[in-house]
Amino acid sequence: MAAKLALNAVVFATAVSGDALAASQLSQAEQQVWRSLQPSILIISQAGVSRGSAACIRSGGFYLAHQNSVRKGPIDGVTFEGQTYPMHLVANDGPTGLVLLQVDGDRVPRCTPIRIADEDHARQGTLLAVLSSGPVRADIGHPNIVATYAATNQSVLLNEIRFAAPPQMLTGALLFDDRGNLVGVLGATLPKAHNIVKLPLNSKPNVVGAESAPGGGRSAGIENMKLRAVRPLGQSQVGPAALNVAYAISPLLLNRVVAGFLSPTHDVLHPALGAVCTDDLVNGVSQGVVIRKINRGSGAAKAGLQVGDIILNIEGAEIHDVVDYARAMLAQEVGHRVTLAIRRGTQTIPIEAVVGRVTDPARLKQELNQSGA
């Protein structure tokens, strides 16, 4: 299996190499980080195809990955030394798309659990993105963007990540800062037509290369695979090349997800009131969010909130639009009581509500079925 994986990686690297990829090396510091990370990372392989990467979050064979890296069927985790471990899906967090994988049986790879980056540090400097074919330099374009899943209306916080790797390599990429802390896991990207950032033609290339690759290590020829790297566009010296833009779950939510995955029930608790809102536009200016739907049995329903109420304030934070609303709710904790200021008709009244948890059983069930769990 390892040989097959290495062969696939070589073929893929050859296919994407050429003008788009150029030769260079990681800096010494980055190589050091990369070496320290390798024991904590498995490449997810299914049917001989590497689909993404997984990070060890607990000794004993527990790994964090993105659901896009996992398809229906047997899952193998391959170390960078070429050892293969069968894995299975343990839990799936619907709002973030992250999954918990566990190595089957007693034979588990020795790994040091990775640490989650704190948000402040994650926003500084360049990142090391671990693709299914090796590391590449990347950076955070914009941090903590509010994103909403169109299917479920649930919100998450994402970091915008930019790098010059081909889109075929982005699936489930892990992002680490210069201390080796996990910054995020890629989960979404812009459509191809919008996913290009052109660089000035006179800028100088600033490239890094993969030092090693799964399944064959340095001897497999992967070390010759070269990837361009990027810097923040404001001071970018790379190019000419097209940069891809992708989105990764923010460390703020990573902490919550990892804590939930490592709990006895492997359950992640995302806070929610159960109220679906839109902007309350007055003369083109949003001055609150108006409740359009209230989930049955939710904290909002129990608190007496009604459809048509306008939320103006949550726990002292002014709510002007749905972005404010999403941020305020993501900052809450399940089970806590919050005070809301709402406008109902001409009156502004305070209401206390208990924060519940995001529940979307249908979506979770569907995703688990799709992934073969």
């Binding site: 979050i57 607990r58 896009n68 989650i116 704190d118 948000e119 402040d120 374009g141 903590n144 963007i145 509010v146 994103a147 909403t148 169109a150 209306n153 649930q154 919100s155 994402l158 915008e160 930019r162 982005l170 989960g187 979404a188 990207t189 812009l190 919008h194 290009i196 950032v197 566009l233 992708a246 703020l252 902490n255 804590a259 939930g260 490592l262 709990s263 992640v268 929610a272 159960g274 109220a275 679906v276 839109t278 902007d279 536009l281 003369n283 083109g284 200016v285 739907k293 934070a317 002014e318 972005v323 999403a326 941020r327 305020a328 709710m329 993501l330 900052a331 809450q332 904790e333 399940v334």
Partner: protein
């Protein structure tokens, strides 16, 4: 004839000089004839009738020629000094006046009757909210993970102060410098920020004193990303879509 000799002839003819020297008379044969002409001119001037009052200048010329001769007065240039002093005084006055004008125009406008603008320095931010030290609900986690530290405020107090102080002049869009979108050429960073802020800035500029809502709205530059249920064919990731206006976006929470 040399000019020097001719000047001497004029001086002799009009009484400023007694006689020419012998060498001067002998040097130029025509000097005597020219001297005679000048003497005739003087006698003709003396025989001119009195000028009327409105021709004082001519009279003064004649008197000057007849009684004062052509002797140049080499007195101190009081007139030029006066002109100089006047010019300097004018320059100094102009300098001070222009300085005062600049000072007056640079002074911030005073809005009479306007309510004081409340500075939005203490805006509760996401960082404040996440700064809670409450333990995660899943307290049974076997691995101790670093708890999230408070995030930096999206806008520093100084930036909020600038926004508040400049909030009423319609310059809110220019002050927004923290866009949160991708830098794709189809969707430039400033584009989304400007679109989100523009209607609020317009509403704020229409009032004498911007309402607190408009000031706060200008600080909210976050764009939103919609995650579509379909998967991107190239990357295998979910498809994201940047949203420039959140008016129709349903957000659960």
């Amino acid at each position: 004839m040399k000019k020097r000799l001719e000047d001497r002839l004029i001086e002799v003819a009009f009484g400023d000089r007694t006689e020419l020297t012998a060498s001067e008379q002998a040097a130029t044969p025509e000097a005597a004839a020219r001297l005679k002409e000048y003497r005739l001119m003087r006698s003709a001037l003396s025989q001119l009738r009195e000028m009327p009052d409105h021709q004082l200048s001519t009279e003064r010329l004649r008197e000057r020629l007849l009684h004062q001769g052509l002797k140049r007065r080499r007195s101190f240039p009081w007139q030029a000094l006066g002109y100089g002093i006047a010019a300097c005084s004018l320059f100094v006055c102009a300098f001070y006046v222009s300085r005062d004008v600049r000072r007056i125009t640079a002074r911030p406008p005073v809005v009479l009757g306007a309510a004081p603008v409340k500075l939005n320095v203490d805006e509760p931010s996401f960082a404040d909210l996440f700064g809670s030290t409450a333990e995660p609900h899943n307290t049974d986690a076997a691995t101790k993970l670093s708890s999230p530290r408070p995030v930096r405020q999206r806008f520093t107090p100084s930036r909020n102060r600038d926004l508040a102080l400049n909030g009423g002049d319609g310059s809110l869009v220019k002050l927004v410098t923290h866009p949160l979108t991708s830098d794709s050429p189809q969707r430039p960073v400033s584009d989304i920020s400007a679109k989100r802020v523009a209607p609020r800035a317009a509403a704020a500029s229409s009032a004498v004193t911007p309402p607190p809502v408009a000031i706060h709205a200008a600080t909210v530059t976050d764009a939103m990303v919609l995650i579509q249920p379909k998967t991107d064919a190239d990357s295998g990731l979910d498809t994201a879509q940047e949203v420039t206006a959140t008016g129709n976006v349903l957000v659960g929470g």
